[in-house]
Amino acid sequence: MDDDLLPLLQLCDSNLPNGAFSHSFGLETYIQEEKVIDKSTFAEWIRVYIEEQLVYTDGLVFRLVYDALAREQWDEVWTWDRMITVQNFSQEAREGNVRMGQRLVQLGLELYDSPALAAYQDRVKAQRSFGHPAIAFAIITQHLHIPLPIALLSFLYSSTASLIQNGVRGIPLGQTDGQRLIQEAQIPLRQAAKRIEELDKNQFGITSPGLELSQMRHERLHIRLFMS
């Protein structure tokens, strides 16, 4: 575990320049429509985001990609890259993920000598793949031999923590409330990781209509702190 700990802390550090700082994934729409206004309404939004978006899409793809890499089935990885990109009907959220994915791939290659990550970047450059943070994170943690349950939980944590920090700026909330929310997210995050382990790949990509609509409608907000 000691060997895993420091690379994981680095990967989950909120200062990791992966671009998550710029994306609210529809949260900003809820804030402007005054549906998310304080700590408790934000906690509810976070819970739904974890249970829906992260469980059925990002988290499930993370697990499936990690499994495929362990079996050296890289073609499956590229298939999931296309699946997770085309299933996202919100252009801003989709392009946000593509940009974050590409940045994480680039950063990962600066830090680690991962053949799968290099192949992923080659495909992105050749426009044969798109790029997605769940896939880049899975490739890096699999390369580091971090066990799947820990890698998955770390990925879910880092996605959630950066959204909470964005919410703290956007709503706005105090920094202490932000830290409480991150702590309170521990239970739904553990449940989500357990749920993802049980899911079948046929359950991939189940859309949450409300979250998706708010991501689509973000395109038409007049004043925006975030790109999605």
Partner: protein, 274 residues
């Protein structure tokens, strides 16, 4: 063939200015009407019918629709898709669509109405050739139960998978499962009862059309919550949360009207069912 309750196959081809059926095959409790020409565009409309009046436990239906080069057609259902109590095996609806170059298909089904304890799995797979255009719409209602309570069905699952020249361009997975957890809250149906989805796919669905629609929906006052966004490939998706089927149909009509005018220079056609 594994025990289908009903199978239908329809192939159409372009003959000069008209599109005509070249193959029609029905088996079991699934039928398709002869072509109905609703205007002078040469574009036929076909209505699919479930002879049992609704789906029951274990029913499996399969439809195959094939459009030849430059064939244009409208496809719809004759009435709403009713799914009755399904305790043992979920009802399955499989639809496969092949679209040759230059073809145009407008496939907007009537709403799905699921009764108490109903389970329904729908999978639609479309293979499009370059230059074809698809308009695909569906509406999910809160269902029906004797005491008027909403969302008494167990599970509705709709997958739509679209390939353009064998490359995956759309993967849509809607799954509403009130037996597992409430579905009307934040992030899900958000207090609305009806969900509509309309996809417009193909390179003729240009950013211009998208911008026109987006501006129209952006400024309009509507009782619905409407989302519109460009797909990863060519085309766009429209999602609507509403309080009734009619509200969604109104939004769909607006969208179909603009798409038909801009794409085909044609007037929109009412399916004339009511």
């Amino acid at each position: 063939m594994d025990n289908w309750t009903g199978v239908l196959r329809l192939a159409v081809q372009r003959k000069q200015e008209r599109t005509i059926p070249s193959e029609v095959y029905n088996q079991g409790a699934y039928k398709i009407t002869p072509p109905v020409y609703l205007d002078d565009s040469g574009q036929p409309c076909f209505y699919m019918m479930n002879l049992g009046g609704g789906y029951v436990d274990g029913d499996k239906y399969k439809a195959e629709i094939v459009l030849g080069e430059h064939a244009h057609m409208l496809l719809t259902t004759q009435s709403s898709t009713k799914i009755y109590k399904t305790l043992k095996v979920p009802v399955t609806q499989q639809t496969d669509i092949q679209m040759a170059s230059g073809s145009y298909l407008e496939f907007v089904s009537d709403p799905i109405i699921a009764y108490r304890h109903a389970r329904y799995l729908q999978e639609t797979v479309v293979h499009m050739a370059q230059g074809s255009t698809l308009v695909y719409g569906e509406i999910i209602t809160p269902g029906w139960s004797p005491d008027g309570q909403l969302f008494q069905y167990s599970r509705l699952q709709l997958k739509t998978i679209i390939y353009m020249e064998d490359e995956l361009v759309v993967f849509d997975h809607l799954r509403l499962c009130p037996e597992e957890r409430p579905i009307d809250g934040l992030g899900l149906l958000e207090g609305y009862t009806h969900l509509g989805s309309l996809l417009v796919v193909g390179e003729l669905a240009t950013p211009d059309i998208f911008e026109t629609l987006s501006a129209a929906f952006g400024s309009a006052v509507s009782p619905c919550r409407i989302g519109l966004s460009a797909l990863a490939g060519s085309g766009f998706s429209l999602r609507v949360l509403a309080a009734s089927t009619m509200q969604i149909e109104t939004v769909f009509e607006q969208c179909r009207l603009m798409v038909r005018e801009q794409l085909l220079g044609k007037k929109p056609i009412s399916f004339r069912k009511y």
